[in-house]
């Protein structure tokens, strides 16, 4: 362990965690390697693709751009913290809408869409497209992802 590392304490998916991190470690790196939560993905590492999206103190962030040390005392939700034991209606909706192809972007999409619906419970389709435009899907599943979100927006879920 390097002498420059420092200990931070934060809440991840509802559990308090204390982790030693170096000044350059990103939130994404810390969550994936130190906390062994690998659901959040790394692609562009420059905040352009959204594969690493997490919710930090209520806001969606590209966790590849956030330094771990900045999250001391914060509350973080990763894909593993969405839905608990079962799946949320949004996650179910992704399945039924056929929104999942390779799946690599999907955790980030689900987290971003969850945050979007928190902020705008009844979004229009263009608000969904705008709100998720920072998340790239190379399989091109955009229209089905947007349909999946719209299907549960404002409690539209057929449950």
């Amino acid at each position: 362990m390097s002498p420059t590392e420092s200990a931070i304490t934060l809440t991840v998916n509802g559990a308090r965690r204390t982790v030693r991190v170096s000044p350059s470690t990103t939130l994404l790196e810390m969550v994936r390697t130190r906390l062994e939560l690998t659901g959040s993905k790394e692609c562009c590492a420059e905040g352009e693709c959204g594969a690493c999206t997490m919710i930090l103190d209520g806001e969606p962030v590209n966790s590849c751009l956030v330094l771990a040390v900045e999250t001391d005392g914060s509350e973080v939700t990763t894909i593993e913290g969405i839905g608990g034991a079962g799946m949320t209606p949004l996650q179910e909706s992704f399945l039924t809408a056929g929104a999942i192809q390779c799946g690599f972007c999907i955790p980030g999409m689900v987290v971003a869409a969850t945050a979007l619906l928190e902020r705008i419970p009844r979004p229009t389709e263009s608000e969904v497209r705008e709100g998720l435009s920072g998340n790239l899907c190379r399989c091109g599943g955009y229209s089905r992802i947007s349909a999946a979100v719209m299907a549960v927006a404002g409690g539209n879920a057929a449950t």
Partner: protein, 752 residues
């Protein structure tokens, strides 16, 4: 063979893990005691390596060792799917921007990256071959060492790696009323899988175990066995489901480097490319296509006279196959009297190009279809009519003596026209375009699987297809469920481990539903035969008296469920039915492509655009794709793939192109500067329509699908733009700048 399971849109098998984050991709797999690799490359395309100073790097805490060419056998081993021309690590010179010349191994990713930054390289930048013109210039340096060519290659003293001459009939004596002579270009684009390429290796059991995000694990296994002089059985490849492949993850790239380092160190090592490094590792073959196309007065296509140049890159990879297989179908889906095509595969000091969804056909389709539109305009024939006139009907040949048309392509075209509202009045600034694309599927190859009916009647299917987003697990499970009458949730697929799973040629060419699907049906039939035989013995009746219907067996009116049958035939000591299934395509050594295509993948695209005349920007009002799929085993999955292909086609049509500077550097390296379609680029309306006539060679009459949606994107949109603006553009992508310049009398792309 029909039944309830085929044609049902059952949800994605593996979908739950993907939506909860539980799915483990290659970089998510924990490997104990693993070391990390960072690559060192130079900031130019072509350079002579003079000296590599590694001491500063090895002095960094955590750095274990720095590997350069000197640490590998001399000469450095080479490999490649067509020619063994790619060295495991750069030796003597680097031939493209990003070619690794050193690999730093460290205990952490950070230390490896710090080490890579500390490696100092003395090098001399050399003149490079960075364009098609450069490659054809006899004064340009040779990219490839002529000594690596085999035999007495008359092209050895040029940058033409391979030349093909396709043709039939006599172009010179074919009379044409109209000749359109144009040049089209198709840019370099990169795959941009959201999962960056990931590799790991560890010594194991006197051999090596490798993890890779690869699409063709068996090809990798063979390459490693040969490079490392190991029996194939001592090379184990774990191939977890790739996070997108699109052809870019087909063939080995840095796995040999990683495997050799692991063996040398006696420890596991891992290399996860940055997105920028994936741009430097894989791309689509760019092309310049010069077509002289002759038409009769009535619009009949009479000849194609073409010079087609494809820039392959620094190493051949699979590009020669991309080029030959696409250019061979010189007229796409059309009948034509005569063809003469000179096709060249060129070496360049650029990223080696490789397979990319559509496998050369989007490039060809861009030129062939744009010519059809040019002829339609010149002859004042409706673009749909001119296509209907020339499309091969079912059973008609598109290349003389080769596999004839295997679908009703006119039906697909008519559907596309109808769905886009062809012929209806257009609002000002709007235009429509329509286009057809053809891609030939696999010509040969084999797929094997093992099917086990366990003693409770559930099924384990062991099959080597890579599920990279196309949903192979779902389709193959549906086939088992359909044929054996076992519920989907009682079928488990085992994939992605060459130590356990039998050989599959590749996951490419939209072949898996046809090849592996047929192997699975074969296995199911064998399992049924075995069940019937064993039941007959048990019941002391003849096999003919044992009737199998999905899920049950009946003898003389008495009905037994599968678990009952298994319990019955094995008695107190449990057992299972184990069978293998296979599907082989042997090819034909005398065929120019090694065999005729097992089916054609044909897709029609119709698009309506609205152009902002002020800015040259335009919006897609409506985008329709029609796929001739034979039979959709899972319609939702096919539509997902088809829509996804269409979106990918929007990328190379509207915005994507890698830009090189005079040093051969990729200028727009990374997600910030290289744009791919986002939610905001979606057409206002997008539809995927499937044509199902059961005329394919796969289960239920299926053909492969999933690539077609991008074949015809560019010409359809360009034609729509032409209709809206009156300008014709022959270079992709159709950026607003390019459109604006064409509209305002720029020197590019103006026809009239």
């Amino acid at each position: 063979m029909t039944g309830a399971g085929l044609g049902l849109s059952t949800p994605r098998v593996g979908g739950t893990d993907r939506v909860t984050g539980a799915q483990r991709f290659a970089a998510d797999i924990a490997i104990e005691d693993v070391l990390h690799i960072a690559l060192v490359h130079l900031d130019c395309g072509h350079a002579a390596i003079e000296e590599i100073h590694t001491s500063a790097a090895t002095g960094i805490e955590g750095v274990v060792r720095v590997f350069t060419a000197e640490d590998f056998p001399n000469p450095v081993p080479r490999f490649g799917p067509r020619f063994a021309d790619r060295p495991v690590i750069a030796t003597g010179e680097t031939k493209y921007h990003g070619e690794p010349l050193a690999a730093v191994v460290a205990v952490s990713k950070e230390a490896a990256a710090d080490g890579a930054a500390a490696v100092r390289v003395e090098y001399k930048e050399l003149p490079g071959v960075y364009s098609i013109d450069d490659a054809l210039d006899p004064d340009s340096p040779l990219v490839m060492d002529p000594g690596l060519r085999t035999g007495d290659d008359p092209l050895a003293d040029s940058n033409v790696r391979q030349r093909w001459d396709w043709g039939w009939g006599d172009v010179d004596s074919t009379e044409a009323e109209l000749v359109i002579d144009e040049i089209y270009t198709f840019p370099m684009v990169t795959h941009f899988s959201i999962e960056p390429h990931t590799f790991a290796a560890a010594p194991e059991g006197g051999g090596v175990t490798v993890w890779s995000s690869i699409q063709h694990p068996y090809f990798l296994q063979g390459t490693l066995a040969s490079l490392l002089d190991l029996p194939i059985s001592k090379v184990r490849v774990h191939a977890p489901d790739p996070g997108g492949g699109f052809g870019g993850k087909g063939f080995p790239k840095y796995e040999p480097l990683v495997a050799m380092i692991a063996l040398e160190l006696g420890r596991p090592v891992r290399l996860v490319l940055t997105l920028e490094e994936t741009f430097q590792a894989v791309r689509r073959t760019n092309a310049r296509l010069q077509l002289r196309t002759g038409f009769a007065r009535d619009g009949r296509l009479v000849f194609i006279d073409a010079i087609e140049d494809f820039m392959m890159g620094a190493y051949a990879d699979i590009a020669p196959r991309v080029i030959s297989k696409s250019s061979y179908f010189a007229a796409g889906p059309y009948k034509v009297e005569s063809v003469r095509a000179v096709v060249r595969g060129l070496m360049s000091h650029t990223t080696p190009s490789t397979a990319f969804r559509g496998f050369g056909a989007p490039q060809m389709t861009w030129a062939i279809e744009s010519q059809m539109d040019a002829a339609a305009r010149a002859l004042t024939i409706d673009p749909v009519e001119i296509r209907l006139l020339n499309l091969a009907g079912p059973g008609e040949e598109i290349v003389p003596g080769d596999r004839p048309a295997d679908g009703d392509w006119r039906q697909a075209l008519n559907i596309a026209a109808e769905r886009v509202g062809w012929g209806e009045p257009l609002l000002p600034g709007h235009g429509r375009g329509i286009s057809v694309g053809l891609k030939a599927s696999a010509t040969a190859g084999a797929s094997y699987c093992i099917l086990r009916i366990l003693h409770d009647g559930s099924v384990s299917l062991i099959a080597g297809t890579s599920d990279m987003g196309q949903g192979a697990r779902t389709i193959l499970s549906q086939l088992v469920s359909e044929n054996l009458g076992v519920p989907m949730e009682r079928v488990t697929l085992v994939m992605g481990d060459t130590a356990v799973v039998p050989f599959d040629y590749s996951t490419s060419a939209s072949r898996s539903t046809v090849f592996m699907g047929s192997a699975v049906v074969d296995a199911c039939q064998k399992a049924i035969a075995e069940l019937r035989g064993k039941t007959a013995v048990q019941h002391k009746v003849s096999v003919e008296d044992v009737v199998f219907t999905p899920g049950q067996i009946s003898i003389d009116g008495a009905v037994y469920t599968l678990p009952e049958v298994l319990n019955d035939v094995f008695g107190a000591v449990p057992g299972e039915i184990i069978v293998t299934g296979s599907q082989r395509g042997e090819g034909d050594a005398n065929h120019p492509l090694g065999g005729p295509a097992s089916f054609y993948e044909v897709s029609c695209t119709a698009s309506e655009v609205w152009v902002d005349f002020e800015t040259g920007d335009f919006e897609l009002v409506k985008h329709i794709t029609v796929a001739d799929v034979g039979k959709a085993i899972n319609p939702q999955h096919v539509e997902m793939q088809d829509e996804g292909a269409a979106v990918m086609g929007l990328g190379h049509t509207l915005m994507e192109h890698l830009i090189l500077d005079e040093h051969g550097r990729i200028v727009n390296l990374g997600a910030l500067d290289y744009r791919i379609p986002t939610f905001k680029d979606m057409p206002a309306t997008m539809e995927s329509v499937l044509v199902e006539n059961g005329d394919g060679p796969g289960p239920g009459g299926a053909k492969g699908s999933g690539e077609g949606g991008l074949l015809a994107t560019s010409p359809a949109i360009a034609a729509a733009l032409s209709q809206a603006t009156g300008v014709v553009i022959k270079d992709l992508p159709l950026t607003p700048e390019r459109v604006w310049e064409a509209m305002h009398g720029g020197d590019e792309g103006h026809e009239q």
